[in-house]
């Protein structure tokens, strides 16, 4: 899941859920029983996840790992008998792929120790193995910059302040409590929001740019920083893409990312475990000379459009109408992209496998999309929606500038999973109260499985937004957090072992059931 506006905007009005229309929503309980049986007793979700993570991961967009995983998904879908399996190439350039080829960082002195560290994605490498002194930028205000003039050449710069480390009195893993679910169930719709709101650049942002300038002008050879303190540490790092420095007040439009072929040359950038980084800071503040040894080889692949993986279970009498399920296939690179979002991709693939295994044909076409470029701004799903379904000409809300394409008239619903490994506990309705009675009927066969909460609230940060943005029904499930926000989201510990098998089985069954019911109900899914 991308870090956009994750969290929940404040409710501005309270709308009770529409009255229950369950009596008129037909639910095919016979097929749902078969789905449960297949999904519970012959699940392949964990082995699919292992292929996506252990074998082919991580899956940074356009990287060799992404390509291997896309190839695997394509051939797997074909093997199950899905139709129209193809790479859906975007009509815009994504930028370069990137992968790590060699990395090692150690402190040689005053005491030898190997550092837990990981380079940022799209970081350049260095030639050979370099031994260099570390220099710590103890910069809290602009005047502090001056003392480092003439001192950075050939040095590895410690760019960040130390990260405070606190004992973990809260558990990493949690499930949603009834109290939390009750608040969600009783919440009204959120104010619509979208796009990036302008905020005045902060003093830390301004200072950061000055520090970057200093490092580049003075000829530093690499930049290391402490993994940030937003979550537990203990050897787990939060790592995303390398920074291309811009002045804090430069407009966002036109800024280049490190993945762009035309990006300016940047310094190698590496994240270090907070505990290890902090030790180096204390050694330096004690007057010790800290010498580091760094090897970093990275590979860039050519700039190109990104692509999604798309496949279908063709419909019958209503085959031109589309029910979609999806998740993003791409990941960050520090772990193997398990909870973000191998789990979602594995669940979507498993849902298709379950449906194909039943030997039944839906009325509408069921389409699976595994998106690329989600971590860089929902790029794969946004591009897909714009090409196929429509767009908002004005990016601001309300939806007064939506231009739909003909395919949108045949579009029913999009269902997304991208909040980690946790069990589905309900659905965020994105303010669409008309869908509530439908979902309530669909959830009836699962009333003993702890998934019953419908909230009018929006949730943000992932690919259902691309559909919701043009007024089409696009939903993300409510999921138990498990260790998503605390330990695995965008970290080096986002690995297969962090996935919870029982939860993923449950999610694949629900996804398959929802897709089946959406594909066979009397009408398209109700819109807002």
């Amino acid at each position: 899941m991308k870090n956009l506006l994750f969290g929940i905007a404040s409710a501005i009005f309270i709308t009770p859920l529409a009255s229950d229309a369950q009596s008129i929503e037909k639910v095919d309980t016979a097929t749902i029983s078969k789905i449960k049986n297949e999904g519970n007793n012959r699940s392949q979700v964990m082995s699919i996840l292992s292929m996506l993570t252990d074998i082919h991961g991580p899956r940074l967009t356009n990287s060799p790992g992404y390509k291997r995983a896309a190839d695997y998904a394509k051939s797997t879908l074909e093997g199950w008998g899905a139709q129209n399996v193809h790479f859906d190439v975007w009509d815009e350039d994504f930028g370069r792929g990137w992968q790590l080829k060699k990395f090692s960082l150690s402190a040689l002195g005053p005491v030898y120790f190997p550092l837990i560290a990981h380079p940022k994605a799209w970081s350049p490498g260095i030639k050979g193995t370099v031994q260099a002194d570390a220099i710590y930028l103890d910069i809290k205000k602009e005047e502090d910059l001056q003392q480092y003039k003439g001192k950075l050449k050939g040095k590895i710069v410690m760019f960040s302040l130390p990260t405070p480390v606190k004992p973990g009195f809260k558990p990493d893993a949690t499930r949603l409590t009834d109290s939390t679910l009750l608040v969600m169930a009783n919440s009204g719709a959120d104010e619509n929001f979208g796009g990036r709101r302008f905020t005045a650049p902060s003093e830390p942002q301004r200072l950061a740019y000055l520090k970057w300038q200093l490092c580049e002008q003075e000829g530093a050879i690499a930049v290391i920083e402490a993994s940030p303190a937003v979550r537990l540490e203990d050897g787990t790092l939060i790592v995303s893409g390398a920074t291309v420095p811009y002045p804090a007040d430069a407009p966002f439009e036109g800024r280049l990312n490190s993945r762009d072929a035309k990006a300016p040359k940047i310094l190698p950038q590496i994240v270090v475990a907070a505990e290890h980084y902090n030790r180096l800071v204390r050694q330096i503040q004690n007057g010790q000379r800290v010498k580091l040894e760094l090897a970093l080889e990275t590979e860039f692949t050519p700039s190109a459009p990104g692509y999604n993986v798309i496949a279908e279970i063709p419909g019958t009498d209503l085959k031109d109408e589309i029910v979609m399920i999806g998740a993003h296939l791409d990941s960050w690179h520090g772990g193997t992209g398990s909870t973000d979002n191998g789990c979602g991709s594995a669940v979507m693939l498993e849902a298709i496998r379950i449906l194909k295994s039943l030997g039944v044909s839906p009325r509408r076409t069921i389409r699976i999309a595994l998106w690329g470029g989600e971590e860089q701004g929902l790029l794969g799903s946004r591009n897909y929606v714009k090409r196929i379904l429509g767009q908002r000409l004005d990016k601001s809300y309300p939806y007064d500038s939506i231009q739909l394409k003909p395919a949108a008239q045949k579009f029913s619903i999009y269902l997304n999973m991208d909040n980690g490994s946790g069990k589905y506990r309900g659905v965020y309705l994105q303010g669409n109260q008309n869908i509530a009675p439908v979902f309530r009927a669909w959830l009836k066969p699962f009333e003993k499985q702890g998934i019953s909460t419908l909230t009018l609230r929006n949730t943000s940060g992932t690919d259902h937004l691309s559909f919701d943005a043009i007024g089409l029904p696009g939903f993300q499930f409510i999921q138990d957090p498990i260790e998503y926000g605390t330990r695995t989201h965008h970290t080096t510990m986002d690995v297969w072992d962090k996935a919870v098998e029982s939860d993923l089985k449950h999610n694949a069954i629900i996804t398959a059931a929802f897709a089946w019911l959406a594909a066979n109900r009397d009408g398209l899914a109700p819109r807002k």
Copy 2:
């Protein structure tokens, strides 16, 4: 703290605490106020800890790090005006020192990734950087060994089965609850215990030796294993000393350790983060060829006796009588030895600093001991006690074979800290009910600080046992666990950042106060 018989033996009889004799125990509240003021407002405990960990750590016994830390402790104590500061050399050979000089382990294929890993102490190194295939010993019973014959030469052997990884629904850090403290307060004395009890070798132990034999006979080049699952993972490793393989039924007497100069040649041994190790297992089980790159350079220093650091604040009218405080200075090598037991050492040093800063002289001599070799079996304190105070000729309980030396008659009390960074909450009385009213009086000035629990229970695993074993008063404080048992004990995350400043300040103040009160009371501390 060494892993001996940590935990609490079952109570066999209930003895109420002796009636409160507080009225006759004089407490020098004026000096205690000064101790509180110095310890709270001018504490140096965290900077002392930084010297022991960040600058000189880790402190594996007899390693260069241990020597640096011992030198630091000696000169620091001298600087504060402590007397008779010296290295107390044991009368027995400890074995060799060891330190890591270079280490890096990466998977080159099928997908490149750097492994979070750490060599075991006293592991030999390898020459240069080696690229080798990994081979996974999927051995659950003796018959499984056969398939690996002829296949291990030149390979890096994956020795252990995968470690199951579970979401962390419990917090790493806790404090003792009133309920737990109440149970302790109401507990009677434990059955005495000591020495290593013979248990029949288990099937896993038997199989482990056969696996070691196979690796050595077949010419493997190194052995890697998953960090065990007794605690949370996430990039934290549990690492101790390298194994010298012995048949499971070989007698313990006469077994050599990897530190011994005469130890047989063993294979390099490395612990890998469970999540990373498990990934390699799954890759291999998927039919992938896993290729690893390993660099490992280690340094052995000559075999020699170990040594403790000892210093004194000389007494006055009762200067021949001794009050001791202590903690072990040595540590394991994966982190910097912070909570085990830099914290204890820093607290003991800080207690001496506080007392010296007051410019007062105790009646009895207050002696600080920073022990070596604790992690290898309380070696430093045991050797000290045997040389200076006495020994049990028969290692079994009850104390019917204790032979005390004259110095034991002048010995009052030994106070130890070695259960992590957590706040003192009381004292384990080791069945000594006679001391209860004394400690209760001493704790009175701290009644608002949450330290009031006296339990007759024993606690095990650290250096107070060496005194307790010959019937002298030796005590370990009850401490809040914080992250000791879950995250830092013998792990790579046993680092400065895991120490809790407020708790260490509290502990130094209590230690100084107890030492002062013990040194100035009317008599020696009551014995069992």
